[in-house]
């Protein structure tokens, strides 16, 4: 399918999870298609990078569920920062590990997973929807002799849709990463109702296992509803070993946050083109 085909299967108001991490292996060709579309009021769930920043800047976002939004080599995402400081978007904040547990809970179809992470911080007061739970067991899982430990109940981060970008895949939805880190792309897909994967290159199924170790075949077709062949589809974020981050383009993207004319030109050239 195409990027616009993915957009056609999304709708305004949806909660959309985006794979990758910071400015690494983000499905930017699909993000750009969303930016061009008439979708709006989206809730984004991501280890955020320019996916979040771009869609905030394009007015597509109602809410961001995040623990950070970063361009890595530029630690603070300027478009996200601008939207936050203008009060233009709502947020729900979590620790990075809580975020993992929320995706895992959704993937495993349980309502929450328990953790100590978040205890003692301001998360419980800032976000009163976040609850604690009392352990029915003792510290080593034994039957509790008295009142058990109080833990944070990290809610499932259930997604209407998820989009990820991988290095290679086949037409059926089997996907392969060839870089050093799978990030959490499998969990985003498993947490979602509608699942889309763009890949640098679609190859015959029989080739996949010849391109890298079997452990690199992180995504299987049970997790994916649609595949987009998108060479360069993660650019300007990194997609090692196919390409590194385009720091020059990222720099332009970042600097344009402070200049309306530069931003309009950047959108014309990079988003609308």
């Amino acid at each position: 399918m195409t990027e616009d085909g993915v957009v056609a299967r999304l709708s305004s108001g949806m909660t959309i999870g985006v794979g990758g991490w910071g400015s690494r292996r983000k499905p930017m060709s699909i993000i750009r298609a969303i930016a061009r579309s008439d979708l709006r009021d989206l809730t984004l769930v991501a280890y955020g990078g320019p996916d979040v920043g771009l869609l905030c800047a394009m007015g597509k976002v109602r809410k961001v569920v995040y623990s950070f939004v970063s361009l890595d080599s530029i630690p603070l995402e300027p478009h996200f920062r601008k939207a936050r400081e203008a009060g233009a978007i709502e947020v729900e904040e979590y620790d990075e590990g809580m975020f993992l547990l929320g995706l895992q809970a959704a993937a495993w179809r349980v309502p929450f997973l328990p953790t100590r992470v978040g205890l003692g911080t301001d998360l419980l007061t800032l976000y009163p929807a976040l609850k604690t739970v009392r352990s029915p067991y003792g510290p080593s899982g034994e039957p509790a002799s008295d009142e058990g430990e109080e833990l944070i109940a990290m809610p499932a981060l259930k997604l209407d849709a998820a989009i990820v970008h991988m290095n290679r895949g086949d037409a059926h939805g089997n996907g392969q990463y060839l870089g050093v880190d799978p990030y959490f792309d499998d969990l985003f897909l498993l947490a979602a109702e509608r699942r889309f994967m763009s890949v640098e290159q679609v190859v015959p199924t029989a080739e996949l296992a010849t391109l890298g170790p079997v452990q690199s075949l992180r995504i299987n077709r049970l997790m994916v509803d649609g595949v987009v062949e998108a060479p360069g589809g993660a650019g300007f974020t990194s997609c090692a070993p196919d390409y590194d981050r385009d720091e020059t383009l990222q720099q332009r993207y970042a600097e344009a946050a402070g200049d309306d004319d530069a931003w309009a030109a950047f959108v014309e050239e990079w988003v609308n083109a």
């Binding site: 400081e85 990075e96 301001d122």
Partner: protein
């Protein structure tokens, strides 16, 4: 003999943060903390485990900055982000983070400044790993620009747990520890009766009053405030090798 440079003193102080840690993941964030971690492992804490800054655990002192790209890496393990949480929650880790604000109890903010979570005056990193780090294992802090805007009476949002809040958690706070805070002016700990921040040593050329004046809360002062030690010749050689471009001098200029 040439005058010792402040950034090199900070590198040694940041290395000392890991003294006694043994075989744990030393995970210093930022240039000077990374130099400190590498220095500790090359000298007095050889069992420390360290990352390449991404998904690998590397055994050798890979330099920081552009020099890292061409440097050989002795890879000892694969450690993608998902595996990092296994280490964090196992407790076998000591991180150095850079707070936007920190209070006398060690409550730290890296997320944002302001009084409204939905519209901050200034957005910073977000919660990142702060809550998980501070509840699970040792967390030290590095402040390259010591000022009353960083060392504050009350942080705008508690992301990293301080000693007062950890104590209130009882058993759940048992793994909490803030061994050191290091700034460009001195070294601090929480070895006081009420576990409030205490000045432990001042860097050469800094007075106790300098530190007091740059701190936005009443700081406990050790009865015997030392001068932070300077690098040995061996340590200076390692620091120079890990940071051949001198990035540390940009982070902490000489006074």
């Amino acid at each position: 003999m040439s005058a010792v440079r402040r950034a090199d003193v900070c590198a040694v102080a940041l290395a000392e943060v890991f003294r006694g840690d043994g075989e744990i993941l030393a995970n210093p964030i930022g240039n000077l903390p990374m130099i400190g971690g590498r220095l500790a492992r090359e000298t007095f804490e050889p069992d420390l485990v360290m990352t390449d800054g991404e998904a690998l655990l590397v055994q050798n002192a890979v330099p920081i900055g552009a020099a890292a790209d061409s440097a050989p890496k002795v890879v000892e393990a694969w450690n993608p982000y998902r595996a990092m949480f296994d280490i964090v929650w196992s407790g076998r880790r000591h991180i150095i983070m850079g707070p936007v604000q920190i209070d006398r109890h060690g409550n730290a903010n890296i997320a944002w400044i302001g009084d409204d979570a939905q519209r901050p005056a200034r957005q910073f990193l977000g919660f990142r790993g702060g809550p998980g780090n501070t509840i699970s294992h040792a967390t030290s802090y590095w402040v390259p620009n010591h000022s009353p805007r960083v060392f504050v009476e009350k942080v705008d949002v508690v992301v990293g747990v301080g000693y007062d809040r950890a104590a209130a958690l009882g058993a759940a706070g048992a793994d909490h520890a803030i061994p050191r805070v290091v700034s460009n002016l001195g070294v601090f700990d929480f070895e006081t009766d009420d576990r409030s921040m205490r000045l432990r040593s001042v860097h050469p050329g800094v007075t106790v009053d300098d530190v007091r004046g740059a701190t936005g809360f009443v700081l406990a002062i050790a009865s015997d405030v030392d001068e932070t030690r300077v690098p040995t010749a061996e340590e200076q050689g390692i620091i120079d090798a890990v940071d051949p471009a001198g990035l540390r001098y940009r982070e902490v200029p000489d006074p």
